[in-house]
Every structure is written in structure tokens, then in C-alpha cells.
């Protein structure tokens, strides 16, 4: 009952609702902005239907034969139209003759569609070799040494990094044996879906949810003090136990807010972009590699769906951490606008802190185990993510340690509060 | 002379006060009504915080709204709840309010010192108000109302938080002040005004019901107030039959003070009505409801 009333304080506040809708609209706009590439992306679907996602020797020869067949068909058509033959479908787009062909309207729209599909198939096909050689040359030990040199890490730190990357090296070998890297997926270099989904969208959802959560948690906890009803409220039967209710409500509301924001955004995303047939593709597939050529090496063999769900869960847990942090701050600072600002300062300090630790001190690694650093790098959750955060259980350790610490602080704050003179 | 003429105040569809007419001369006026009857609304109109929906309030013949700062310069006001800054000392706080009241700094410094002595806060003049008790805060409030030596002093529930000794001192202070100014005291604590108010104003059903001296008001129910003793067993029945004004246990019986228009019974003893009796009689049918404190 009390919890419901507390919950109502949040839900009925127009600013929370207004901001929520505004954030949602912004996310939808981000998705809308990307919709033009949807048609192109969908061309992958028929390829998968025909050959499956796994591009091992079998899959590849299947793809190749279908590609060659279609190219031959196309060349027959081209022969009759212009007398040209093409070595590759992409040659069709060479500027020398493409523009004149378009002006002369030599080909019908349907035919143009066909060549475009073919060109894409060709791109996917040719990418496989590149991926294979890239992964065969992948050397995690070398990558570790390179990073140690670039960051100028001291011996103790370097040793830890080496240990981690040695484990990663084993994982890379396993990944190659599993052929995880050879699964078809939306071409990273063309669409960069991983960055869009897990960086652009997730990152903005994280910040949006964080803003909402900090706002309403600080508001809720200090509601009585700001309304000057604290003396009444805290002397009732429920009394100071009310703070417990507030904590529970703040945490639940945080989950609800995050879930709704995340859920709606993702729902729209997956309605717009058709991922059918791709849910079970391993997240470490080489097709995800984007223009920076950095492969995604996940610590476990996750499918895209597993990865997505795990990331959603982690995101929600992070927001719980932020709600807890806000709660603790609010127990000591009775003005919600100062709480909001201090939260921002703490967040900034948390992100900056590792930069101030000497490069030979192990603290530089420990300070990376913070939710602030964690949420700045969503794209690389559960994966190799650079010298400082590539630990197999980095995400789990970070959130569990902070959850426990903050719960203890919250408990301590509450017990102090129950004895405080009001 | 402060004159309230035909003043009506609506909040949306709700009428808080209807065609009120009151005249204030020098002296203490007790504004007596239960919570939510429109006391605070009237006071806020007298202090220009609210604007009458119709009608005017005049001071010496001038509309107080048109007088603007010339009017506000003349008033001292203690709201039920007033904002103070926790980190200010009473001195700093009163100096801030003196600046608001347009008192020049030199005069203000001397005046603040003098007032803090009057309200017996001179020993904590430079301590932060964070640690003050409710009574101390209330005394700071009383001091600020008197800062500008106002012609009209308006006090909303001024004795809240004061202990009995402080109350007495405060009443004496008011009696002194009222010799050459208007003092309007809003309260629902009858004893606060009974002894010092020259006139009592009672508001009921959005209108002024009485505006008269205590004696005259009490006369309205002269001969209707009795005292008697009742057996314990009969108290319930007695209460439902008559309007009991007070009751107290005495030597195994209940001593009842009550009001009735019935013919007196022999065991009843006629007594002189007091203001509290009138208050209880007039407002006997008023049940406080949630919407009543909308204007607090």
C-alpha cells in the first residue's frame, strides 16, 4: 500500500513522464535515421535462406555456385543489352560507364535490383576469405604486447594483461575451431549494426534511464523533507521504515523505467530491421567487423540473441547500481538538485580516475572495475575490450562488487537515519 | 482605519469568502474561526498576497493594491509558516528582511538588536537558526513582523510553539503595541484572544458572523449555558442530548458544562458563557473536511 503510494509519486509526476516520452522519441528518431539501409540489409535474408549462415567449405561452395550462376545469367542479359560482360557484379558500378548506363535507361528497375542484390552477395562472398585470413593471423599475445607498449604499462600490470590475453588466445583458437567467425551477418563494414545497436542506442538508453532514475530517486527519498512533512511521515507507525519502502520503490521503478525504455526501443528496432535467421549467429562472427578492422572476440560462444539478452540484463543491473548510488547520496544530501549534480561529478570522476593512476600500479586495472567505466563501453561487453578491461568476468565482478558495496552503504545510511535527530 | 468592503474571494468555482465587510481601528482584533473557514484567505488579502475577486480593501481611504509599496511599508506580517534560511543567524536573517522592508542599514542594525532582546533571543543572535527550537523560530518571526514598526500588525497563529510563559509575555507585548496601531490576530485558540482582544471577528459560511467585543458576543448565548453533574453511566446519553462544552470528572461523577435552549431543570446551574462556549456553539455542525485547508 505504502509502496504503491510512493510509486504513484513517481508515475504521476509529469516531468518524469515527459522526459520519458522525449527520450523515447529521440531513440525512435535515431532508428528512423537509419531506416534507409533497411532495404539493403534485408537482401541478406534470401542468401541465408538459400545457404544457411555458416560459411565453411560447404556453405561457401554453395554460395559460390549460386553467385556464379546468377552472374552468368546477368552477363547473358548484359550481352544482349550492351555487349558487355562483367568479371564481377561490382564492376557494373564503375563510374566510367555506370552513369551513362543509368542515363540511357538501359536496364529496368527490376534488373537493377537484381544486379544490386548480386553485387551484395558478391561482397559477402568475397569477405569470407578476408575474415578467414584475418582470424588465422590473429595473435592476442602480440596485441597485448602492442597495447603494453602504447600505454607504457609497468611490469606488474603488463603481466596481468599478458595472462588475460593468453587466455584470450586460447579462446580465439577455440573460436576458429568452432567456426564462430564464419557466420553470415549484416556486413559490419557497410551497416555497422553492432555499433549502432550497442553503442548508439544502448549508450543513449543508459544515459536517459540514468537521468530519469537519478531524478526520481533523489526526489522520492527527499520528498518528505522538501514537502516539509518529514516530521509527520517519520513519526507514523511505519515511521522511518518508510525509507526501506522508498528504497524498494526506487529500485523497482528504476527497473520498470529502464525496461520500458529499452523494451520499446528494441521492439521498434527489431520491427524495422529484420533479424530473422540471425538470432543464433555467434556474436564473434567476422562479418560484424567494422571499418576499424577490430574483431569482436567474445569470452564465451554466445549467439546474437544470448548476447543481446545478457547485455539488456547487465544494463538493467547497472541502472540498479545507479539508483542505489543516488539513494545513498540522497540519504546524506537532502536537496535533490545537489544530489543530481554530485551524481554527475561522481560519474565524471569515476570515468577519469583510471587516467590518474601510474601506469605501473595495479590500481590502474582495479579502477576500471567501475560501473561508470563499464557503461561507457557497452559495445565491448563480454568481449576483448582493450588492455584494461579484458577479463573474462569483468562485467560480473564489476556489478556484483558495486552492488554489494552500495547495498552495504545503503543499509548503513538507513540505520544511521533511523537514529538521526530530525 | 482599515476597511474591508464587500470583498469576495473565489478560488476557481469555490468561494472562500463572500461579501465581507469589516472595519479595523487601532486595537487588537481576534480573528476566530476553525481551520479552513477562510481566516488565512482574509489575512492573505490584507497582506496583498491574494487579490480579492471583487470588492476592495482600503487603508485611510486608499485602495491597498493601488497603494502598493506605500501600504506594504505599513504592515508587519507573521505567516503560519514562514521561510527562514537554516544557515543564517537571526541577526543576518532579520537584516535581510530589513533590506526587503526598505529600512536603511544603520537603523536596521540597531532595531534588530533591540527586537532580539524583546523576544529574548539576544543570547543566540549570531547562532545559525538550524538548531533553533520551534518556539525560537516563532519568536524570530514575531521579531521580523515588528521590524518596521508597522501600523498594521497581522499575525497568523502567532502563539504556535510558544510555551505558557512566552505566551503571557507575548500577549502583554501585543496589548502595548495595540494602543496606537491595528493588530489582527488569527487563531483558533480561544484563550489567546479572549483576554486581550478589543473585538472578536467570527467567520462562518464564508461570511462574517460576529464582529463585536467578547462580552457582547458572549451575551448572545446568555442563559443557555449550564453546569450539572451526571452519573458515569448516563454520560453517553447526556452527550447525545445536549451540546456539551466541557466535561471533567469530579468525585465519582461527571461534571458537565453544556448548552441548551430547553427549559432549565432544577439540578442545572446557570453559568456565565465564555468565548469558548460561543465558539463551540457556533461551529458545532462544522465537520472538518479534506478540502478545507486548501489555502494554507
Amino acid at each position: 500500500m505504502i509502496k504503491r503510494l510512493e510509486f504513484k509519486k513517481i508515475i504521476t509526476s509529469p516531468i518524469v513522464l515527459g522526459l520519458f516520452l522525449l527520450f523515447l522519441m529521440y531513440n525512435l528518431f535515431l532508428i528512423y535515421d537509419k531506416t534507409p539501409m533497411k532495404e539493403d540489409m534485408n537482401l541478406l535474408q534470401p542468401i541465408i535462406k538459400e545457404n544457411g549462415t555458416l560459411m565453411d567449405a560447404d556453405g561457401r561452395s554453395g554460395l559460390q555456385s549460386s553467385y556464379e550462376k546468377e552472374l552468368a545469367t546477368w552477363n547473358k542479359l548484359a550481352q544482349t543489352k550492351t555487349g558487355d560482360t562483367y568479371e564481377a557484379a561490382t564492376d557494373f558500378y564503375k563510374p566510367e560507364h555506370f552513369h551513362s548506363l543509368m542515363e540511357a535507361k538501359t536496364y529496368t528497375d527490376k534488373e537493377l535490383q537484381a544486379i544490386s542484390t548480386l553485387a551484395l552477395k558478391e561482397t559477402y562472398f568475397h569477405t569470407i576469405d578476408g575474415i578467414e585470413s584475418q582470424y588465422n593471423q590473429l595473435n592476442m599475445i602480440k596485441s597485448a604486447e602492442e597495447q603494453i607498449r602504447v600505454f607504457g604499462l609497468g611490469e606488474g600490470v603488463a603481466e596481468t594483461v599478458r595472462t588475460q590475453y593468453t587466455q584470450l588466445d586460447t579462446r580465439v583458437k577455440e573460436l576458429i575451431t568452432n567456426k564462430e567467425h564464419l557466420h553470415l551477418f549484416f556486413h559490419g563494414k557497410i551497416y555497422a549494426t553492432h555499433s549502432f545497436l550497442f553503442k548508439t542506442l544502448f549508450q543513449s538508453i543508459i544515459f536517459q534511464a540514468m537521468i530519469l532514475i537519478v531524478l526520481f530517486t533523489a526526489f522520492l527519498v527527499n520528498y518528505e523533507f522538501e514537502q516539509k512533512t518529514s516530521l509527520v511521515a517519520y513519526s507514523t507507525k511505519r515511521g522511518r521504515h518508510l525509507v526501506w519502502d522508498k528504497l524498494v520503490v526506487a529500485l523497482l521503478s528504476s527497473l520498470v523505467a529502464t525496461f520500458t525504455l529499452l523494451g520499446t526501443t528494441l521492439l521498434v528496432y527489431f520491427l524495422v530491421f529484420d533479424y530473422s535467421g540471425l538470432w543464433n549467429v555467434p556474436i564473434s562472427t567476422g562479418f560484424l567487423i567494422e571499418l576499424n578492422e577490430i574483431p569482436f572476440i567474445s569470452w564465451w560462444n554466445f549467439t546474437f540473441l544470448e548476447y543481446l539478452l545478457l547485455s539488456c540484463a547487465l544494463l538493467m543491473i547497472c541502472q540498479v547500481i545507479f539508483a542505489l548510488l543516488t539513494f545513498c547520496l540522497s540519504m546524506w544530501i537532502r536537496n535533490s538538485y545537489i544530489v543530481f549534480t554530485i551524481f554527475g561529478v561522481i560519474f565524471g570522476a569515476g570515468v577519469l580516475l583510471p587516467g590518474y593512476i601510474p601506469k605501473d600500479n595495479l590500481l590502474i586495472l582495479y579502477t576500471h572495475f567501475s560501473p561508470f567505466v563499464l557503461v561507457m563501453n557497452v559495445k565491448k561487453w563480454w568481449m576483448e575490450s582493450g588492455a584494461f578491461t579484458s577479463f573474462k568476468h569483468y562485467e560480473v565482478i564489476t556489478v556484483s562488487a558495486w552492488l554489494i558495496a552500495l547495498l552495504l552503504i545503503a543499509w548503513f545510511s538507513i540505520s544511521r537515519f533511523t537514529r538521526e535527530n530530525l | 482605519m482599515l476597511l474591508v468592503e464587500e470583498v469576495t474571494k473565489n478560488f476557481g468555482k469555490f468561494t472562500a469568502l463572500k461579501k465581507i465587510n469589516i472595519e479595523f481601528h487601532n486595537g487588537v482584533y481576534g480573528l476566530l474561526a476553525p481551520n479552513g473557514a477562510g481566516k488565512t484567505t482574509l489575512i492573505k488579502m490584507l497582506t496583498t498576497l491574494l487579490f480579492p475577486t471583487s470588492g476592495t480593501i482600503r487603508y485611510e481611504g486608499h485602495d491597498i493594491i493601488k497603494m502598493d509599496d506605500k501600504y506594504r511599508e505599513l504592515i508587519g506580517y507573521l505567516p503560519q509558516e514562514f521561510g527562514y534560511y537554516k544557515n543564517y543567524s537571526p541577526t543576518a536573517y532579520l537584516l535581510y528582511l530589513a533590506a526587503l522592508k526598505g529600512i536603511d542599514r544603520k537603523t536596521a542594525v540597531a532595531r534588530v538588536k533591540e527586537l532580539l532582546k524583546i523576544v529574548a533571543l539576544d543570547h543566540v543572535a549570531t547562532k545559525k537558526m538550524k538548531k533553533f527550537s520551534g518556539g525560537m523560530i516563532q519568536r524570530v518571526g514575531i521579531a521580523q513582523a515588528m521590524l518596521n514598526d508597522p501600523r498594521i500588525l497581522i499575525l497568523d497563529e502567532p502563539t504556535a510553539g510558544l510555551d505558557p510563559k512566552e505566551r503571557v509575555r507575548f500577549r502583554n507585548l501585543l496589548t502595548n503595541l495595540a494602543r496606537d496601531r491595528i493588530v489582527i490576530l488569527s487563531t483558533h485558540i480561544v484563550s489567546d484572544v479572549e483576554s486581550i482582544a478589543n473585538e472578536i471577528i467570527m467567520i462562518k459560511n464564508q461570511e462574517v458572523l460576529y464582529k463585536d467585543t467578547v462580552i457582547n458576543i458572549c451575551r448572545k448565548i446568555d442563559g443557555l449555558v449550564y453546569e450539572t453533574e451526571v452519573d458515569y453511566g448516563d454520560t453517553e446519553k447526556f452527550r447525545s442530548t445536549y451540546l456539551t462544552l466541557s466535561e471533567k470528572q469530579e468525585t465519582g461523577k461527571m461534571h458537565m458544562r453544556f448548552l441548551t435552549t430547553e427549559d432549565a431543570k432544577p439540578e442545572w446551574k446557570t453559568v456565565h458563557p465564555n468565548l469558548e462556549d460561543v465558539f463551540l456553539y457556533i461551529y458545532q455542525d462544522e465537520v472538518p473536511s479534506a478540502g478545507d485547508d486548501f489555502d494554507d
Binding site: 535533490s336 549534480t341 | 478560488f11 504592515i75 509558516e81
Partner: protein, 379 residues
């Protein structure tokens, strides 16, 4: 006057000042310090900057034909120096790299040669080898002023006319440095964001505090009465003026460390800069323009923040309303009103029109609120 001081005191409490300091430190560390520490950022950018500085010392504000010949002769000299260096290195000579020309046309596919190449640039950091490509690039730009026009891509007649006019008036020989300009542009945007954030922090409690703890009852019934509303605004304006000024003074004090004072009197229009303004302005004038713009936006921001403070029922709503405001102001706002001011890419009078619009809108908003406040029932 006394009242104004009292209200200012309430805005600048110890708490607020500590908050401001903390926020400033964080923002500086996250977004500003980098552009101080790494200016000029990397090589050969650094070498280009040094060469430009020398150019300025030697030739003054512009470089005529004779001076260009001199500039080229320095380039030749550097090539000789590079050759001498190579000849002094046994491993280079052994690999047949005994002149700069040979070194330059090195086959980078050859691992051994690539290692030597890498040694010169990234291990020994031989300055002259970094300086040569920098100077080469500068010579090329001088010799091909038409590229200055080409970099603007598709332009309309007016824009074209403006560029041609500039070229006629000496842009082709004027000396400037695009690094200096871009560095300033990046810095001032982030500084502006910090300034606007500071203003929000200071002004946010302006009305809401007294309203929420019922101090208004006493304030509005005092002699000053509801005119306190404007007095508070004035205090807010003074406070933000102080905030802006202190922030800018701190920033320019640090900026002095970038050692670019010789660029201040120069015109922005040079083949060595990638920015064209609709107006003939020097770098110093441009800086002043950004400063004026920041003050004016600050003024508008105070009005809007003050309005929010006087309307919002609680701190949560107040902070919440600032979120979209900050989003717009820090993003779009600084991009068009603090960065690349008067750029040829945009409408010529965009800056004055936008500023005037923003200011008048915020004035109207505040005026409306002020009118309402005057006759509001204080319940």
C-alpha cells in the same frame, strides 16, 4: 543595492561554489585539458605549426613571391640536412639510403627498409624528417591557391564571389594556421558548455528555494514586495556575468599557454586556414565575437532558467526541464552560436538573427512570467 547583494549572497553559497568548482574540474579534465596538452596535436602538425610561426617571424603577415623563394630555399636546406643526417648514419648508408630523395622513395613493402624508415620517424624522431613533409605541404598550398576554393565543394554564386574577393585581397599570400583556428574552435565550444552548465547550476535555485520554503510570504508583503522578482533576476544576471567572466578569464589564462599571440592580429582568410567568414575579421576579432556570443546566450539562458525556477513546483521538475534545454543548447546551440561563427557555409546574417531571436524569445517568456507574478495569488 543592499538587497541585490543579499540576493547574490544567497546565490553564491559555499555549497554552490564548491559544486561549481567540482563540475569545472571534471569538465576541464574530460573535455578541455586535452586540447591544451596536445596542441599542436601530433606530427607533422607540430612541425607545420613551428614552420608557420617562423614564417610569421620572417615575413610578417603575408608571404610575397620573394619571400616564398626564401621559404623554398629553407626547404632545400632542410633536404640537405636530411641527406647529411642519412650519410652520417651507417645503417642508412649500408642500405643505400644516402640521400633524402632515395629515402623518400623507399619501398615500404620491403621489411628491412620499412624498419629503417620507422627508425628515423618513430624511434629517433629526427625533427628534420618531420619538418620536410610539413614544409612540402605548405609550399604546395601556396603554389595551388585554387585548392583553397575547391575545398569548399558546391557553393552558390554569393559564396563564390566572396572567396574570389578574398583571393584578390590577399588570402592567397596571407599567413595563418588552421591548427590554431581549429584548436580554438574545439576549446571554446567545450568552455561554452561549461559556462552554460555553471549558469544553470547557479540560477536554478533562484526562485524555487524561497518559494518552496515560503519565504515569499514575507518577501512579497514587505515594502519591496513583488518587485523582488525583478531584483532577483538582476542578481541572477550579475551572478551569471560573474560566472561567465571568471570562467573566461581562467580559460584565456590557460589558453595563453598555447603561445599563439602572434596569430591574433592576423586575418582568418588564408590558404593556410580552412575557414572562411562572411566578414573581414582577424583572429582576435573572431575570439571577441565568440566571447560576445557567449555573454549574450548566457543572458538568454538566465532568463529561461529563471523562468523555470519560478514555475517548477519542485527541484526534480526544475532539473528535469533543464535536461532538454541542455541537450539543445550544448549540442546544436554551441555548434551554431559558438563555433565557426559567420562561416561561409551558412546564411550570412545567421548569427545576429539567431541571437536576436533567442534573446527576444527569452525576454518575452520572462516578461510573460513577470506579468503573471505581479497579479498571482500566493497561496
Amino acid at each position: 543595492m543592499r538587497l541585490l547583494f543579499e540576493e547574490l549572497k544567497k546565490l553564491f553559497t559555499v555549497k554552490t561554489i564548491i559544486l561549481l568548482l567540482l563540475v569545472s574540474i571534471i569538465i576541464y579534465q574530460m573535455f578541455i585539458v586535452f586540447d591544451f596538452k596536445h596542441f599542436p596535436n601530433g606530427r607533422p602538425v607540430l612541425d607545420e605549426f613551428l614552420a608557420t610561426q617562423k614564417m610569421l617571424e620572417d615575413y610578417g603577415e603575408s608571404m610575397d613571391e620573394d619571400e616564398f623563394e626564401d621559404f623554398k630555399s629553407i626547404y632545400d636546406q632542410r633536404i640537405n640536412e636530411a641527406t647529411q643526417y642519412l650519410q652520417s648514419q651507417d645503417d642508412m648508408v649500408a642500405a643505400g639510403l644516402d640521400s633524402y630523395t632515395k629515402f623518400k622513395s623507399i619501398d615500404l613493402e620491403n621489411e628491412k627498409l620499412a624498419a629503417l624508415h620507422n627508425k628515423v620517424y618513430h624511434e629517433d624522431y629526427v625533427d628534420v624528417f618531420w619538418e620536410i613533409p610539413a614544409r612540402e605541404d605548405m609550399i604546395e598550398r601556396y603554389e595551388h591557391p585554387e585548392r583553397y576554393i575547391q575545398q569548399y565543394g558546391q557553393i552558390n554564386e554569393k559564396q563564390k564571389a566572396r572567396i574570389e574577393e578574398l583571393m584578390k585581397n590577399g588570402a592567397a599570400t596571407a599567413i595563418f594556421s588552421y591548427q590554431v583556428f581549429e584548436n580554438y574552435n574545439t576549446l571554446i565550444k567545450n568552455v561554452a558548455i561549461l559556462i552554460f552548465l555553471s549558469i544553470m547550476l547557479v540560477i536554478l535555485p533562484l526562485y524555487i528555494g524561497d518559494r518552496r520554503n515560503h519565504a515569499v510570504f514575507l518577501q512579497y508583503t514587505s515594502k519591496v514586495g513583488r518587485t523582488l522578482f525583478t531584483k532577483k533576476l538582476l542578481a541572477g544576471l550579475i551572478a551569471s556575468f560573474i560566472v561567465i567572466t571568471v570562467q573566461l578569464v581562467c580559460f584565456f589564462f590557460l589558453y595563453k599557454g598555447n603561445d599563439i599571440s602572434m596569430f591574433l592580429p592576423l586575418t582568418l582568410h588564408s590558404i593556410y586556414n580552412a575557414f572562411i567568414s562572411w566578414y573581414d575579421i582577424t583572429f582576435l576579432q573572431y575570439i571577441l565575437l565568440t566571447v560576445v556570443s557567449i555573454y549574450l546566450i548566457g543572458l538568454a539562458l538566465v532568463l529561461v532558467t529563471a523562468c523555470i525556477s519560478s514555475i517548477a513546483p519542485n527541484y526534480m521538475t526544475s532539473v528535469g526541464l533543464h535536461v532538454p534545454l541542455a541537450f539543445i543548447l550544448f549540442g546544436v546551440g554551441t555548434t551554431y552560436l559558438v563555433q565557426n561563427l559567420t562561416t561561409l557555409y551558412l546564411f550570412k546574417y545567421l548569427l545576429p538573427v539567431l541571437l536576436a531571436a533567442i534573446l527576444s524569445l527569452s525576454f518575452i517568456l520572462f516578461w510573460w512570467k513577470y506579468k503573471r507574478e505581479k497579479w498571482k495569488d500566493i497561496t
